[in-house]
């Protein structure tokens, strides 16, 4: 870090930026307790003649928006399950790629890397068709597999770097103690890679929880729909947007993600530092 005096300017600017960043958001928290007509009119205080500050919007969301808890559950299942599968499959693959010589090692890694450049939209239509053909269309299973495929590369890339950076002596020591490859993976590599894993976990969770395009395309029944798609259900061509319910939904969809982040954020930064940003 640059050493110098007078961090006051920096402090002020940072505080201004931080506040500016969350102002839109605090307004949503605040507005979710206001009557809908006042939100639409952009007022900062409920006008006379309305009910004032109430929980009406939240009640409306749970009463009338059938399926809201369903979207919540789906998003949660997908995010947790998908993250778990990505971490598992990704670290297994990264382990193999990082520590063993075999035919096709570099080629396979290269293929994984190249697909970063292919925008996900190319796979959108093909996956649509694949899911239709296998009867997995509009199911959580299908969407989960799609998300896993989309998020594998980041984990493989990061964990491969981490695993490759483990000093050989550590591995050799374990091997001398009679550990098989499998045991080396679980008892040596995974603990060392914990920081990297949490960084991957947060990023993957974030990606899956917020993902919109694929969820929109791959689902047509609310048994499989996720929260971002559910939020757009509150708007629509033939409806009149109920801003109050919208704000309440926005609030509720934000909370789990915020929790996850606040709890894990120090591992996140540590993980990114350990894992990846190399030239």
């Amino acid at each position: 870090m640059t050493v110098g005096k007078r961090p006051i300017i920096s402090y002020t600017l940072l505080i201004v930026i931080a506040i500016a960043g969350i102002v839109p958001f605090t307004w949503v928290i605040y507005g979710s307790f206001m009557p809908r007509s006042d939100i639409d009119a952009g007022r900062l205080w409920p006008s006379d003649g309305t009910d004032g500050f109430t929980l009406a919007n939240y009640r409306l969301t749970f009463d009338k928006l059938q399926g809201f808890d369903l979207y919540y559950r789906n998003s949660l299942l997908l995010a947790v399950g998908g993250t778990f599968l990505v971490l598992l499959a990704g670290s297994l693959a990264a382990f193999a790629l990082a520590r063993y010589r075999f035919l096709g090692n570099r080629l396979i890694f290269l293929i994984f890397l190249l697909t970063i450049m292919v925008p996900a939209e190319v796979t959108l239509m093909g996956q649509f068709d694949l899911l239709l053909a296998t009867g997995l269309y509009s199911t959580l299973t299908g969407l989960c597999l799609s998300y896993v495929a989309g998020n594998l590369v980041l984990t493989i890339f990061l964990m491969r770097n981490v695993f490759a950076g483990i000093p050989n002596d550590v591995i050799d020591a374990a091997a001398i103690d009679g550990a098989s490859r499998w045991q080396v993976f679980w008892q040596v590599c995974m603990p060392i890679g914990a920081n990297g894993l949490s960084a991957c976990a947060i990023l993957t969770f974030l990606n899956i929880w917020n993902e919109f395009t694929f969820a929109l395309t791959m689902t047509v029944t609310d048994k499989a729909m996720t929260l971002p798609v559910g939020i757009t259900l509150l708007q629509g061509q033939w409806s009149v947007t109920h801003s109050g319910a919208l704000f309440a939904t926005v609030m509720m969809s934000f909370v789990p993600m915020a929790l996850v982040f606040v709890l894990l954020q120090k591992y996140f930064v540590r993980g990114l530092t350990a894992g990846a940003v190399k030239g």
């Binding site: 960043g21 796979t123 694949l130 917020n210 940003v277």
Partner: protein
């Protein structure tokens, strides 16, 4: 020869590695490689899923169609419009310099995306760097500030779009209310010395309803939404710079500014490269925000490339033309590939 032999021997010894790779490889092959291959095939047919049986092989027609599709913007008519941007225009109401300045560029999904990138990328890459440097500078409280700055990133595109639609309301969204406040304050000041009560009559623009303001408005929203991530990436890069370098520099009498320019920036290059690359690819792929906030915006002025692709493939105003959409997708992939290769080579050259 000996190399291959030893490789084969290693493979025989390490064959379980393939098993470790298997789950990831299977999912990947099914959901990434296969669709890419399928899309490649489709891009050479006129497939419309409304009538799949009648799909025929049409060779490069789809790709040629991209060059004559007015909605894409690479057709002769739009290109002619571009040429006129470099000459003195003949329309007095829309002089060329004004068109350049107000981003009143010829339409088309490609140019809309370029406009977005030009508006978005520089800000999105430079400002987080400054913020990260400042965070690094103030040691205490930086974790808290960093978390707060990161919060908008957690908000999904759908949620953020919904919030900003109301913020951008032309009558009482927060921005226009602020502008109205400024105007009223100015008028009050003027009113102290003159009898003209409404000297200033400017109002805030119609952010999402004005053909020229919609894309900048969306670009700013995207910046707000994702800036925290870049700040974090830069912070990680800054953390890896050895503090001893700075101490040595201080001993040599370097000012903070010199430290920043001579030590921080050069050593931050790999991170910067990563940030620029990711941001560039991201801005070429922008879609969800336009879809929700303006649905292509006033007069299709916010139809980004991917939004157009989605419309062609899935929207009722087109015919589920998967063939054409696949061609569009591959063109985008090719552009991203080329850009990545260029940035890679540039970064390597600079490092030399």
């Amino acid at each position: 020869m000996a190399q291959t032999e030893s490789l084969l021997r290693a493979t025989r010894k390490n064959w379980p590695a393939y098993l470790y790779l298997l789950p990831a490889a299977l999912v990947f092959a099914a959901f990434v490689i296969y669709p890419i291959g399928r899309a490649a095939v489709w891009s050479f047919t006129d497939l419309s899923l409304l009538d799949p049986a009648s799909a025929r092989y049409v060779g490069w027609d789809n790709y040629r169609a991209i060059l004559s599709d007015e909605d894409v913007g690479l057709d002769p008519k739009t290109l002619a419009d571009w040429r006129s941007m470099f000459r003195a225009g003949d329309d007095p109401a829309r002089p060329t310099w004004k068109r350049w300045l107000t981003f009143d560029w010829p339409g088309g999904a490609v140019w809309n995306t370029v406009k977005f990138t030009v508006l978005f990328l520089p800000v999105y890459v430079i400002i987080p760097l400054i913020i990260a440097a400042m965070l690094d500078h103030v040691r205490t409280g930086s974790v808290f500030l960093r978390t707060v700055i990161f919060i908008p990133v957690i908000i999904s595109v759908a949620v953020a779009s919904v919030i900003w639609i109301i913020l951008y309301n032309p009558n009482y969204g927060i921005f226009n209310l602020a502008i109205a406040l400024v105007r009223d304050a100015l008028n009050w000041i003027v009113g102290l010395v003159s009898t003209n009560e409404a000297y200033f009559t400017f109002t805030g623009p119609n952010w999402l309803g004005d053909r020229l303001w919609a894309m900048p408005a969306i670009a700013f929203m995207c910046f707000w939404n994702g800036m925290g991530l870049n700040v974090l990436l830069y912070l990680v890069g800054l953390n890896r710079i050895d503090s001893e370098l700075y101490e040595a520099a201080v001993v040599d009498g370097a000012t903070p500014r010199q430290q920043f320019l001579r030590i921080t920036l050069p050593l931050l290059r790999p991170t910067t490269y990563l940030v620029v690359l990711l941001s560039l690819i991201g801005s070429l792929r922008v879609f969800g925000q336009m879809w929700i906030m303006t649905e292509g915006g006033p007069q299709d002025s916010t139809v980004s490339y991917v939004m157009y692709l989605y419309r062609v493939a899935f929207h009722p105003t087109r015919d589920f033309e998967f063939g054409y959409a696949s061609a569009l997708a591959f063109v985008l992939a090719a552009v991203i590939f080329v850009l990545t290769a260029c940035t890679q080579r540039f970064s390597r050259a600079v490092e030399q």
